[in-house]
């Protein structure tokens, strides 16, 4: 369980997070959603101790972030930030190999090598294993980065917009793999998701943020509703259903496409605020 108490954050004089209290359940796939600038990345970076906590307290499985050594935390959580560009000229397999570094500190054992092979296979990277990172596509590099995070083998996985550079097939595969990790091996995943439908399809628990605050939290059924989403993104949004899960229709609003398309007859007026 990740427990966040009274977490506030400022950059310069600008308040970014306001007194956040949040508990993230273990063994769940948690999706963090919200508009640009809501503070999702900041929250994730604070939890991942990539930035020092200014005010408040964060605890991960009973380990207080402020007192636990960073090497110990590397065995409890693996993180992939939003900026994944790596300037080093490493081979894909070497990068993924560094994911095991917290376990062996320079002397890899057979178990570490096996974990690297598994991670490479899980992300379709075997054919690219010996290519340099600056000689593969952006999406492939992103998958290598993800594989490194996987190889770390921690109970918690914190990901910031992991679908960023991935095509449809790889996005779906990644979400399926995350879900599998959660349901199959009881691990916990917290991921910022830009495209809400991936959250709708795969997440167990959704946290919605806006302006540095948590505005809604719960299972997809209760968070991915027309009123909540429309208020969250300040734009009218329609929610349908698909395979018994919410399907968010946000790509256009009915009358935006012009005359050949029918106006929404009963657009609920309370959404337009």
């Amino acid at each position: 369980m990740i427990r966040i108490n009274g977490l506030s954050h400022h950059i310069g004089a600008a308040p970014i997070l306001h007194d956040i209290d949040l508990t993230l359940p273990r063994g769940k796939l948690v999706a963090l959603i919200g508009p640009n600038g809501a503070g999702k990345s900041t929250l994730l970076r604070l939890v991942a101790r990539l930035e020092p906590v200014q005010q408040g307290r964060i605890e991960i499985d009973g380990l207080d972030l402020s007192t636990t050594p960073t090497e110990r935390l590397a065995l409890a959580m693996a993180v992939m930030g939003q900026q994944t560009h790596i300037a080093s000229r490493l081979r894909v397999a070497e990068l993924v190999g560094f994911g095991r570094w917290p376990h062996h500190h320079g002397r890899p054992r057979p178990a570490d090598r096996a974990a690297v092979r598994q991670a490479l296979a899980a992300f379709d990277l075997e054919p690219l294993a010996h290519r340099f990172l600056d000689e593969v596509s952006g999406g492939q590099a992103q998958r290598a980065h993800l594989a490194m995070t996987f190889a770390q083998g921690t109970d918690w996985l914190l990901l910031d917009e992991p679908l960023n550079n991935l095509d449809m097939a790889h996005s779906r595969t990644l979400m399926a793999r995350l879900a599998d990790l959660v349901r199959g091996s009881g691990r916990s995943v917290v991921t910022v998701v830009h495209e809400v439908n991936y959250a709708a399809a795969w997440a167990d628990h959704i946290v919605a943020m806006k302006d540095g605050r948590i505005v809604a939290e719960g299972p997809p059924e209760t968070v991915l509703t027309e009123p909540v989403l429309s208020a969250l993104y300040d734009t009218p949004i329609e929610v349908s259903r698909h395979d018994d899960r919410p399907l968010v229709l946000h790509h256009h609003w009915h009358d935006q496409l012009g005359s050949p398309f029918p106006k929404a007859a009963d657009a609920p007026s309370h959404l337009l605020h």
């Binding site: 090497e71 110990r72 590397a74 992939m80 081979r91 560094f98 570094w101 320079g106 340099f132």
Partner: protein, 318 residues
């Protein structure tokens, strides 16, 4: 692929043999055993000189890898980060204030000054916009220039200009004899230390975020890197003078071929630095035989050609 280390080893061995053989005095192969005078030249001059060149080349190239991973920029070397000039400043200071202090005190002071200079460089680099890749080497050159002129000015005032000249001018090895180069072994040891910590430097190059995520204390690694770069620079500058380009071009060439997996590449970088410097030293000894051209001059020419090639080379694929 597997023939590469063998070929490299053979080339390096050939260079060493040539270095032991070539000089103002003629030494034929196999002559060392019988003739006492030949043995003397070999043990007192040729061997120390060859070892000094090898140690300097290897240590500078490794220091180059280290500083490049600290600033995450390939266009810097230990000679363009203000480190050598800072060492000279420290040495000048201790020479003025406590001229009688033993050599090891002077070396410690020079190393500490080099560390302060490197720290200043790192602090400046941290404030530069990440995308402006070329600002980093420019900042280094400006810093080197400023500290260098402070050294020159103080030396001028104190009438020590000739003394200081040997550090700031392009370095050379003609003065190396037994008893005057042994401190370079410490520079070699610093390079070995960097190799032990190779993974840490490689992870540091992945960025602060990734390094922290993997549980690496970035400040500790930065400090270790500064010690390595400073000790190497200080010892090289004060024993043989400024040696340009080795720490810049060798890491770049090796990274092109082997990549940045430093645990695997640092030994190659060290061998490459040693080989390049020895080759340049040999050229300097041969071109105007029996006179010598300082190795720094030869390196200035060869190094800038290699550097221009690195800058303008066609983009590699595959």
């Amino acid at each position: 692929m597997n023939a590469r280390p063998l070929v490299a080893g053979l080339v390096l061995t050939a260079l060493v043999v040539a270095s032991l053989g070539i000089g103002a005095a003629q030494i034929g192969p196999g002559a060392a055993a019988g003739n006492g005078w030949t043995a003397l030249v070999l043990m007192e001059s040729r061997l120390p000189r060859t070892l000094a060149v090898l140690l300097t080349g290897a240590a500078l190239a490794v220091a180059g890898v280290v500083i490049q991973s600290l600033v995450r920029n390939r266009f810097v070397g230990p000679d363009t980060a203000g480190t050598g000039e800072s060492a000279a400043l420290g040495l000048l200071g201790i020479t003025l204030l406590a001229p009688a202090s033993p050599i090891w005190i002077k070396m410690i002071v020079a190393s500490l000054a080099a560390m302060a200079g490197t720290a200043l460089f790192l602090a400046i680099v941290r404030r530069l916009p990440v995308r402006e890749v070329m600002l980093v080497p420019i900042a280094g050159l400006i810093l080197s220039g400023i500290i260098g002129s402070v050294v020159t000015w103080i030396a001028w005032e104190a009438d020590l200009l000739q003394f200081v000249g040997t550090w700031l001018m392009s370095g050379e090895f003609s003065g190396v004899i037994a008893g005057r180069y042994e401190l370079l072994w410490i520079a070699g040891a610093a390079a070995v230390l960097a190799w032990f910590a190779a993974d840490r430097f490689a992870i540091l190059s992945l960025g602060d975020q990734v390094a922290t995520g993997l549980g690496l204390s970035t400040r500790g690694v930065m400090r270790l890197g500064m010690v390595v770069v400073s000790v190497v620079s200080a010892l090289v500058v004060t024993t043989v003078g400024m040696i340009p380009f080795v720490g810049l071009v060798v890491p770049n060439i090796v990274a092109r071929i082997l990549g940045d997996n430093l645990r695997a590449s640092i030994p190659v970088v060290a061998a490459g630095g040693a080989g390049l410097l020895l080759a340049c030293d040999l050229i300097g000894r041969i071109v105007r035989h029996p006179y010598e051209i300082p190795v720094g001059v030869i390196l200035g020419i060869i190094g800038s050609v290699i550097f221009l090639w690195l800058l303008y080379r066609p983009v590699a694929h595959g």
